[in-house]
Symmetry: C2
Subunit: 143 residues, 2 copies
């Protein structure tokens, strides 16, 4: 693996995160995350998790409880600010979990830090929340 602190590489790292999730390979998911106090994760509908341990435990549980999951990544934006990468996107999700199949969508903020020693972008902040498709509707709820 050899990333560089560029927008193209950041977009690839973000794509890799979703393909890793689809692979349901916990060890690969663990390797994408920064193991630090600032690790932060909001799964859709979950309370926020702080720190690498609870964040990685949540991935262990989710991967263990998911039979199949596929993502389409829409409206991806990616910006590099020094050694930080800021990604926003809309996730279109198809999953099989707990015996049921479901389709859903999420608005997501992903923050990466470029780890020069490892030569890769590490994810330290994933905030995904249930959301209607952007641009699908001119009427939006008023809080």
């Amino acid at each position: 693996m050899s990333d560089s602190p560029t927008v193209a590489s950041l977009i690839a790292a973000n794509e890799r995160f979703y393909r890793t999730f689809e692979s349901l390979d916990y060890a690969a998911m663990d390797a994408l995350w920064e193991h630090s106090d600032r690790a932060f994760c909001v799964h859709p509908g979950w309370p926020p998790l702080h720190g690498a341990k609870p964040v990685l435990e949540s991935w262990w549980r989710i991967i263990g409880n998911t039979s199949d999951i596929r993502f389409a990544l829409l409206a991806v934006t990616a910006r590099v600010e020094g050694t930080l990468g800021i990604v926003t996107l809309y996730e279109q999700i198809q999953s099989v979990a707990g015996g049921g199949q479901q389709g859903s969508g999420a608005a997501t903020t992903n923050l990466f830090a470029f780890d020069a020693e490892a030569g890769m972008w590490k994810l330290f902040h994933h905030h995904a929340s249930p959301s209607p498709l952007p641009g699908g509707d001119t009427e939006t709820p008023l809080n």
Copy 2:
């Protein structure tokens, strides 16, 4: 107003954002935001908004449709990375809108950039999503 690119100042800027929202003063809210393409906003349950114009229009609509709103800011974390400020928190919200009163909670990511010329932190990314209170429950839904 004179901020500095420190954690204490970042926490104060984040607090100011919520007190400004409570004041329902649109001009003051407009002044807190970075007027740029990277302006990004997810209100709880809304689709993502990209760019200063749609983001500020959403604030205009929300402020115009809200009679009263109060925030308690819980589990605030703030980190400064160069000229970027990364804040996470849990918002406990009491609002009156459209004739009804409601209490709700949101997990939130706020990103600020330090504007040296203006001498203040500007908000460019607000992602708030409906969330149960963190730590209130050991059982969390599995996707």
